[in-house]
């Protein structure tokens, strides 16, 4: 775990209860590597994002290299490789939602959060807004995912109220 030496402040994720949970997950698969996605999820739940140090720790726990872990992390869109705002807001703009006005919902979120651009975090650190591909809820256009919750039937008009509810 060379990266740990570089940052002495890094606190391991897989200790205590979380280590036990990882052991339970490992039982479910015939290889240790198969626990990689679940382990990365545990990191993101604990820390909010997946740092290089965390990749090294996960690699050491599962007997794979940090480079391999990074190769997997970068394939999947849901693992954050940088810290994001307290509220991570994903607006679906794929065709079924676009034809229902999803572009106006994106605009409303950008305007009301103070996020200058898609993917940037607002100056107060509270919000990050991105466009996302089909959320599998196309009949409830426009679905918006705020952290782990999906809000259905969002229109531009409802955006201020939704943001006010995020306290």
């Amino acid at each position: 775990m060379s990266a740990h030496a570089e940052d002495a402040r890094y606190e391991p994720v897989f200790v205590g209860e979380r280590r036990k949970r990882l052991d339970v997950i490992l039982e479910r698969y015939p290889t240790k590597q198969a626990a990689l996605l679940p382990a990365l999820w545990m990191v993101q739940e604990a820390r909010g994002w997946v740092s290089e140090d965390a990749m090294a720790e996960v690699g050491a726990a599962l007997g794979i290299t940090q480079a391999y872990v990074k190769g997997v992390v970068t394939f999947y869109t849901m693992y954050h490789q940088h810290p994001v705002g307290k509220y991570f807001i994903q607006v679906c703009t794929t065709t079924p939602c676009l034809c229902s006005g999803a572009d106006k919902v994106v605009d409303a979120f950008l305007d009301h959060t103070g996020c200058k651009e898609l993917g940037l975090t607002s100056p107060d650190g509270k919000y990050t807004v991105i466009e996302v591909e089909c959320l599998g809820a196309c009949g409830f256009a426009t679905p918006v995912q705020v952290n782990a919750d999906t809000i259905e039937n969002v229109t531009a008009e409802k955006v201020p109220e939704i943001l006010a509810g995020l306290k």
Binding site: F75, T95, L98, G136, C138, N153
Partner: protein, 446 residues
Amino acid sequence: MGYPHKPHPRETPVISKHFGDPEARSLAGWKARGGYRALEQALAMPPAAVIDVVKNSGLRGRGGAGFPTGLKWSFMKQDDGKPHYLCCNADESEPGTFKDREIMRWTPHALVEGCAIGAYAIGAQRTYIYIRGEFTEPIRAMEAAVAEAYAAGLIGGNAMGTGKQVDIHVHKGAGAYICGEETALMNSIEGRRGNPRVKPPFPAVSGLFAQPTTINNVETLTAVPHILNNGAEWYKAMSLSNPKSTGTKLFSACGNIAKPGNYEVVMGFPFRDFLYDLCGGPLPGRKFKAVIPGGSSVPIQTMAEAEATLMDYEGFVAQGSMLGSGGAIVLDDAQSMPRMIARLTRFYAHESCAQCTQCREGTAWTTKILDRIVAGHGTFEDLDTLLSIADNMTGKTICVLSDSCATPVVSGIQKFRDEFEALIAGRRSSTVAMGGHAVARAGASA
């Protein structure tokens, strides 16, 4: 339409019968509604007999390809001494499709039971239910149902006291449409990048962890307990058009339509009645223009084609498209077809795993040209270029994502050429006319 909602009188709710009923979510509630009788029955039968019932029912895969389920199960060699696996495909990321989500939210035990029966039939000791990471509520519901089933001894090392091992685990994806492709899904479970594999070998020979594996869609597996409870003949009799398409199917409808949602009808139901009667027709003051009937990967239909369609595997093909996953995207006369198609190819460009040159380059190049046309800077040669790229993207890659990107382009230019030509001739720019700039901005952030 959200739940609870009353089924339309012309629906035939089998799978969706308990949608909207919170009590059906718990084990006790599910048992009170007849749950786990089918599993008990299956565990008392030889596995080959279970497969025969499913074969005789005519059930075909609901994930997109429509492969006969019983036949697929029979490819698994019984008693070969190897570990077998069942994968349940709950990745549901095909634009226009949102049916598996509702099955898992409302009747999670129906899927647990379907998985357990399927696993027993193919001799799989372990099943993984691969659910896309964004589906947080379905994941919670499925994890709770699996835990309840373990605690009650319905699954586990000694399922229902029969000595059979039926382990089921939920595996959470992390954002990647391509992981719905069966071999990419297996790579993803193995802790790899979600790249599709070259076939053969097929999964029944060498699948998950290089062992014999079967993969089935959520809706496919959820139909199985009903077939065991009511018999193959009952299922086979539910067919309004072609005897090769049997049973009920959950169809999703979205886009510019009065009552979007999921509707369960018997195979062969008239698409016209589905669109105008069940889904309430167009929005006030508008007219339907086009339908992409089976999720975004199937050819676009004109309204004349859609209105002549009988909703089964053969019926959609006869009218220039495919049933696919059964998710209808409806577009009305206020939409610009080039703009809507450009956004779809952007989806495929974003989701390509980039292993194959034709797909990696083709999806990006197609999107670039379409964006140019939409912005009013296209040329007439661009249309020929698009068709030529589409040809190079079709039938030449490891998986069919590449073909899926070419499909709306080819069918769109074939059937709505006048809209492309009007934009090129400078008569109208979609972005300006429609007041939208999400497509252009998505380009900046990609």
